[in-house]
């Protein structure tokens, strides 16, 4: 049977494609781009929250936050490993990231201004990430799907800690409740943008659906996220900053307002509030660590030669 047909049948039957299988070049390239972008997002995503570890207002919150940000390093690592099964080296991908040749999720180009942001990131940003990621546990490429299973298991703790922090803050002082509302106001729209451009504008969606890399369109996932978040916001006692947000009984979904696509594309293109500093931070860690990585490599080589 010819290789291409065998590949198509594997995918169509919802079986997993594994690293040593033949696959079309476009499939490989799409996966590398998507997995790398995902891995970079985890690593860059450590910064906005990592920023608050030293200032966490209780020891329990400090432990939870450190564990969470540590998880993100782990998630990035699982994902880089999945990309490596496709022949993309982590060092190469890291170079591409710090040279600005590969992207990461734009959400991390927004600043964290108060401790409430830690809670709202957990609730909304991780919530949106979960909507995106849960279907990826069944994505057609085996190593990516397996990495996502592990990531999703850990992410659910992330979302819960965020929501719990917000519930606690809402039961605190008036100042705290205002902090939470202010934070929701700032993060709601960027969270909706996490699902990417609308289906009409999304160039990669169709082919990715055929290959079963993606299982749902951007707009489907965005709608699911809105429907999930509305009752959660009510329980919390916060208002989502969208006057057009209303239940539509005919559709069985919430209608919501139009995203500011100008801002969306601006941030994607690197003009967000924090693009430059996020990359600079990652670059510094990578460059400052070069001598350590080299030392360990040199030591291993000497040991091998001595053996």
């Amino acid at each position: 049977m010819d290789l291409e047909r065998q590949f198509e049948q594997t995918v169509a039957a919802d079986h997993r494609v594994e690293p040593r299988d033949w696959m079309p070049d476009g499939y490989r390239a799409t996966l590398i781009r998507q997995i790398a972008q995902h891995a970079h997002s985890e690593i860059i995503g450590m910064q906005p929250e990592g920023n608050w570890i030293s200032r966490a207002p209780s020891l329990r919150r400090k432990a939870v936050l450190l564990a969470k940000v540590q998880d993100e390093a782990g998630h990035g690592l699982y994902l880089y490993a999945a990309a490596e099964t496709l022949g993309a080296d982590r060092a190469e991908l890291t170079e591409k990231l710090i040279e600005g040749r590969q992207k990461y999720s734009s959400i991390f180009n927004y600043p964290t201004l108060t401790y409430a942001d830690v809670g709202v990131i957990g609730w909304l940003v991780d919530g949106a990430a979960i909507c995106n990621q849960v279907p990826l546990c069944r994505t057609s490429y085996g190593p990516y799907a397996r990495a996502m299973i592990r990531v999703c298991k850990e992410e659910s703790f992330h979302q819960r800690q965020g929501y719990e922090l917000l519930m606690t803050m809402m039961s605190g002082t008036r100042q705290q409740r205002e902090m939470v509302q202010d934070s929701v106001n700032r993060w709601w729209w960027p969270s909706l943008m996490m699902f990417g451009p609308s289906d009409a504008e999304s160039s990669n969606t169709e082919q990715s659906m055929v290959w079963r890399i993606k299982r749902h369109t951007n707009d489907e996932l965005r709608q699911r996220f809105v429907d999930m978040s509305v009752p959660q916001a009510e329980k919390l006692g916060v208002t989502l900053p969208d006057p057009a947000l209303v239940w539509n009984p005919d559709r069985g979904h919430h209608d919501f307002g139009e995203i500011d696509w100008t801002e969306f594309w601006q941030v994607v293109k690197g003009e967000g509030p924090c693009n430059a500093e996020r990359i600079a931070h990652r670059r510094k860690a990578h460059e400052d660590g070069a001598w350590v990585r080299e030392a360990a490599t040199a030591y291993a080589r000497k040991k091998e030669q001595a053996a």
Partner: protein, 95 residues
């Protein structure tokens, strides 16, 4: 900038006594000893008592699934080797 990439290791973990080591993922480490420690930090966190194997990815010899027929067909008909062949009542735990 100097590129000094540590080799890739594959990690296998025994979750609890009585189970096989299972492949859980991979990581980079400068050498075997650090690979084992990194694996503990990354893939078992604090669950003490598990057993970990690490092996350099380049040391693994693999069959290609595309060569599936000659290599795997002989066992394909031996359904009795597979656990699902045996009907087990639902209420038997951990089987």
């Amino acid at each position: 900038m100097t590129k000094s990439s540590w080799p890739l290791y594959e990690v296998f973990v025994r979750g609890k006594r009585g189970l096989n080591h299972v492949h859980v993922g991979s990581l980079h480490a400068p050498d075997d000893e650090m690979a084992l420690r990194n694996a503990r930090d990354l893939y078992t966190r604090r669950n003490e008592g598990v057993s970990i194997w690490v092996v350099k990815a380049e040391a693994i010899t693999a069959s290609s699934p595309d060569e599936k027929d000659p290599f795997f067909a002989p066992s394909g008909d031996k359904v009795y080797r597979h656990p699902t062949f045996y009907a087990i009542p639902e209420d038997v735990p951990h089987l």
